[in-house]
Symmetry: C2
Subunit: 207 residues, 2 copies
């Protein structure tokens, strides 16, 4: 990590100062390194603002020993929040769709917090699909949800070997964020492969 970046994090108050050892020097230890890695994941990888990263960090350090809390704070802070709608009619539609999302989660047996941002994302998409005239309801999301659940299992298995909650949070965040475009790219590559296979043709160069 460039020294200028570390100095930036120090100036912004994201990283506490090290133990002073000389007029222009300070000593940093493993806890600073762990914090730095997490800051890098939040700001550099996830693109959070300094302010948002500070909020996440204070939450993380308030629950330091609690892996589930720490993961929740770190991963929850990084899901795109759905836009709020001020319109009354849209809120009615949104409530209807959120109820569909709850029905989906119940059918899967998934227990999540009431205000988990992902719920609103799914609700809005069901609404968009309906507006496009496609007959789509939550039942059709079940096979996708089951596969997403298996992906989450792979994700969580990958952090099991770490002992420190902060390290777990950093790795979980990096993998969750960085693998999103990879998962979507793999899905499209698989679509290409399978579509050709279904029709008995060889893939050609993209036109």
């Amino acid at each position: 990590m460039p020294i200028t970046t570390i100095k930036y994090y120090l100036r912004e108050g994201l990283l506490p100062a090290g133990r002073p050892t000389a007029p222009n020097q300070a000593a940093y230890d493993e806890s600073h390194v762990r914090r730095l890695r997490l800051i890098r994941a939040l700001v550099g990888v996830r693109g959070l603002s300094v302010g948002a990263a500070k909020d996440v960090l204070s939450g993380v350090y308030a629950h330091e020993g609690d892996v589930h809390q720490v993961l929740g704070i770190v991963l929850g802070a990084t899901t795109q929040a759905a836009d709020g709608d001020g319109d009354g009619n849209q809120d009615q539609e949104q409530c209807k769709r959120l109820a569909e999302v709850d029905a989906l989660l119940d059918s899967l047996g998934w227990e999540v917090s009431d205000d988990a941002p992902g719920k609103a994302v799914i609700a809005r998409t069901l609404d968009t699909l309906s507006g496009l005239g496609m007959a789509y309801d939550w039942h059709q999301l079940v096979p996708y949800a089951e596969l997403a659940g298996q992906i989450a299992t792979v994700d969580l298995d990958k952090i099991e070997d770490l002992a420190d909650p902060l390290e777990m949070a950093e790795r979980a965040l990096v993998l969750t964020v960085l693998l999103e475009p990879v998962l979507m790219a793999l899905r499209r590559l698989a679509q290409e492969h399978q579509s050709a296979a279904r029709r008995g043709v060889s893939p050609a160069s993209a036109p």
Copy 2:
């Protein structure tokens, strides 16, 4: 669809004029409707520019009867292309990473076009993970790829009931694009549920 939107598509040359029936009227048929739906998916849902949509449409209509070609053109046009790197060193790294992606695809038995955009996306992410000091190579992507492959199977099954390649392309495009945030939201909800379950806690409201 608002009449102003249809007139916009006519003016931009995305939609051909209907059969003139009176000085200020024209008749449109089913083929116009199918084309309109596809334009809406490309421009309205996927956000392609008018020029990009025209390219896709001319390719689609050049291969009208061929489902695989049509799907390839429609879905291929909508994958985020990886940024090109002009730097020689980076090209070397990129080649090394692309070889890893090829090794991954070979191990899965997936046949895709040489220049499929998804390959570059995966290559760049492997590079980023390496730059973050995480020991990550293509082998660790195998379980994710297998699950992405199962997602693609669900996707393709959903268009099997359609007879017309243009309708198949429209539905494939809409589902592929609109379900991306849903899949990512489902993954995060599953992470929350499973993380709590692994530690034997109930999920709390997000802090």
